[in-house]
Amino acid sequence: MFRVVEGEINVAAMISSAQRPDSGAISTFIGTTRVDESDGASVEYLEYEAYRPMADEKLAEVGAEIRGKWDVRHVAITHRLGKVAPGEASVAIVVASPRRGPAFEASRYAIERIKEIVPIWKREVWSDGYVWVGSQIGTRGAK
């Protein structure tokens, strides 16, 4: 239920697994590659890498935190590694709860915590160089 994968994320299968008679609400968050533009250049794709197996363990830790904070009956998180093209999903979070409030809050919390504690890094590859997001180190502007 907490996985780092190399290929496309099967969001439909994740949602199917979250449909349960004890829950009335499923909140899903999907992060996708957005094409930013600046200085006449644009993002061509994102590329992710992870420290495994620590990343898998930290994703599971996010799941455990959620179960400790809200009444959720299903939590699944999948993060993709490697190149992720514009519009494609890099991360998917699916939470089922008896009620919608906890489902929304838990999925929001999950993405915030992933961005805080899971050892995964993203490189924006632009038409004129790349940048490591967070570190702001790369070859853009180094021209």
Partner: protein
Amino acid sequence: MSGGKNVKVLLFGAAADLAGKREIGVSVAADSSLDELWEAVVVEYPRLSPMRQTLAFAVNGEYAEKGAKVSPGDEVAFLPPVSGG
């Protein structure tokens, strides 16, 4: 192992980029700290130096403070600010 590279240091993201390596072998004495390990690595890979303020560290897959002990056989990771999602 005396004198050998007894700690594996893994580098990720911008740190791997600046060092030009994803994995470095480092020799540490039995009672070293992460800080001492860091100093030893920076001598060999000075381009990492500017990352000192933002890097986090893990020892054997768990976040660790800079004062933490590092022992021969440990796996250490240099972790730039994470940017998943």
